[in-house]
């Protein structure tokens, strides 16, 4: 029932410092020129920057201290993701966080001990969830895990596997005896040519198709039953949170680009920002930004407090996705002719907005789930 929606909003001094640090970090390390240079690189990100992030402890932010992390929790990762989105920064941070959350929520202690310390030290992990039908439901994998003695074989085609080329481990969603399951696959276990690069709308992303046929999986590398469901839910939660945070940052970034142009460019003898036809929709973008950020930090606060955050996360994703897509679209238009050129940064944001919208469910998808949660 809608009445039970809370308005929890907590933000610790520690998180505040992290946000300040990360904001400065990405402003410096991810200029528009950096972003454009990386588009043409194979890896898509600057490894030196990534190593600095690792050195700052950000890759292990959400990993408990027992497993080599700093135990700040997933909410703290928002303070990294938001400025990353604002400055269109590329790194395997998000992919890795999703891997971490999956292992943390569903993995055994052995599995956690095996994979998480390496991640805290900079290894890249990723998740392979989606398939060709573009379905966002994480429990409907067609990929099959089959029992073969005390081992398993994994067969299937996964898509939108981000940063797969640089990952050392993959959490692959599959179906095992009709039930959801996850296999943890090491890079070394993949046959040659299992990965092929996909062409996606956001040129700052690296996305891969993973096609495997009867790859051998050790029993100790499988997560199944309720543990698999928990892991998938945790991955979804983390994805919704961090993509929404990135999107909120993206709205702030594109808003800055728009405002700068509206204050610079003149037409018909006046600065174009003085025309209400541009000014008022720009205010709508600001309002979308404020609402999106509020949803994001609220959802993070609930997760921090260990409370049920499903509705809050879906709301955050719905608001952030649609507001970002609107902002990106208007950014092109409001830049006029320049906005139509590859040279204008507006397109970088629009591309990322569309990527973010179609990752892990668009606004309409989440509203449908919210209707079931809140109206029935």
């Amino acid at each position: 029932m809608p009445q039970t929606l809370k308005n929890t909003m907590t933000f610790s001094d520690e998180q505040s410092m992290l946000l300040d640090t990360a904001t400065g970090f990405f402003r410096d390390k991810s200029t528009s020129a950096d972003v454009r240079n990386l588009i043409d690189s194979a890896r898509g990100y600057d490894d030196a920057v990534w190593q600095e992030m690792v050195a700052l402890g950000w890759s292990g932010l959400a990993i408990p201290e027992d497993f080599g992390g700093s135990g700040l929790g997933l909410a703290a990762a928002v303070a990294i993701a938001e400025p990353m989105g604002r400055h269109l920064a590329a790194s395997p941070f998000l992919s890795t966080q999703l891997f971490v959350q999956g292992v943390l929520a569903g993995g055994s202690d052995e599995q956690k001990g095996q994979y998480l310390p390496a991640v805290a030290e900079g290894s890249v992990g990723t998740v392979a969830l989606f398939e060709e039908d573009g379905n966002w439901d994480l429990l409907s994998a067609q990929a099959q895990l089959k029992v073969a003695g005390d081992r398993f074989t994994l067969t299937g085609v996964k898509t939108f596997v981000t940063d797969a080329e640089v990952a050392t481990h993959y959490l692959v969603a599959a179906t095992l005896a009709g039930e959801p399951a996850l296999a943890i696959i090491a890079e070394s276990e993949l046959p040659a040519a299992a990965l092929s690069r996909e062409t996606v709308i956001d040129e700052t992303r690296r996305s891969y198709r993973l096609a495997i046929d009867a790859v051998d999986v050790a029993g100790t590398s499988v997560i199944r039953g309720d543990q698999a469901r928990k892991a998938l839910a945790a991955i979804r939660d983390a994805a919704l949170l961090l993509i929404s945070a990135e999107s909120a940052g993206g709205i702030a970034g594109v808003l800055e680009v728009i405002v700068e142009y509206l204050n610079t460019r003149s037409a018909f003898g006046r600065k174009i920002g003085s025309y209400q036809g541009l000014k008022h929709p720009t205010v709508d973008i600001l309002i979308g930004l404020e609402r999106a950020r509020s949803h994001v930090y609220h959802a993070a606060s609930l997760l921090d407090a260990g409370e049920d955050a499903e509705a809050a996360l879906r709301m955050a994703k719905a608001e952030a996705s649609s507001s970002y897509a609107f902002a990106g679209d208007r950014a092109i238009q409001f830049h006029g002719g320049f906005g139509f050129t590859y040279e204008c940064d507006a397109q970088l944001y629009l591309r990322r907005a569309l990527w973010s919208q179609y990752a892990f469910g668009d606004a309409a998808h989440h509203r449908k789930h919210l209707a079931a949660l809140l109206l029935d």
Binding site: M1, P2, Q3, L5, N7, T8, M9, F11, S16, L19, A252, L255, V259, L262, N263, R270, K271, G273, S274, Q276, K279, H280, T282, V283, L286, I287, L289, E290, R291, A292, R293, S294, H295, Y297, H298, M315, A318, E319, A364, R367, K368, L370, A371, L374, L375
Partner: protein
Amino acid sequence: MDEFRAEVAAWLRENRPPEPDFLMPESFMEVGTDAQFNYLRDWQRRVFEAGYLGMTWPKEYGGGGQPQVMQDIVNIEMARQNVPFMPNTIGLNWAGPLILAIGTEAEKQKYIRGILSAEDIWCQGFSEPDNGSDLAAASTRAVRDGDEYVLNGSKIWTSLGTYAKYMILLARTNPDAASRYAGLSYFLAPMDVAGVEVQPIRKITGEYGFTQTFFRDARVPVDCLMGKEGEGWKIAMQTLTFERGASGGQAGGLSMVAVSAADVVELARSAMRDGRPAIEDPLIRDQLIGFLVEEQGDRLCGARARIPALCSERPGAIPMSGKLRGTEFRRRLCQFAISLQGANGARWVGDAHAYADGLWQRSYFNAFSATIGGGTSQVQANIVGERVLGLPKD
């Protein structure tokens, strides 16, 4: 805190006034009959006497001297129990905070308690018939004559004009000032002097609520002047900040009938479209959730606004956009609520078979008073664009 909440909840349950036998106004702007006014004034007095109003205001003037969180608890509980609102909105939210912020000791002593108890009703005299949202164009004149100012001119959209004892009034003391802003002054003007005439205005709902106030050689004492001559614009802008959702200062209590997306969800359960409860229609569900997400976003903006580290880039963004967000949301929500009712959407207040007595239709019409009054949404968007985003003026 939980104990206090429980205490408040119990008090409200026991003391809420009985359902009236007349149509309740939706906000102080809709109070159009004596019965409505007396009912609401009595209610405000009881809430004040129970200690649930002006809780953060200084004790020496009648307030409670308590932290904001206590008032928040009261406000939330009032909204939850959907009790009547406080009619003295201009006093509680504008005049009172302003007097506490920049008034003299004498002014605080004279006005604050009457504001809280609803003994002294306040109204607002900013807009004029020919100037709409362009407050700086005010042409009502105030000419000093010995110990008095002589007022001439007219103000419009005066809510509670018939009942008010005082008006916060923006008038021109110097028509030859260097700028049109510099010639304005601000008055805490008594309404019960000769030469003040109040004329009711009929609204689009068919009801009354606003008035037009005419000043014809009305004389008010010089100590009604707030601040100095020529400071009127600055003080008026400060007053509007209270309205525009800036936090702090307001005396609490509800100022209008709360209309929430949850109410529309409930309507959707009972209202029928195409022979089925509206809530079963996938399109309606999608729209309901859209409203819930938006409303929750605004509510969370309120919570985030209290955490400076999360508002550091543009501290004005949330408070300055509050009116625009809130009033446009309400208008669209009410418009949508009508659409749930199928053919019955065409009914109006007074029809025996209208859903919720036609109140959604009336609420939609009344919603325009807030998208227009106190600066239209178009002017609000300019204000946000220019002051928060730094865009050039029109």
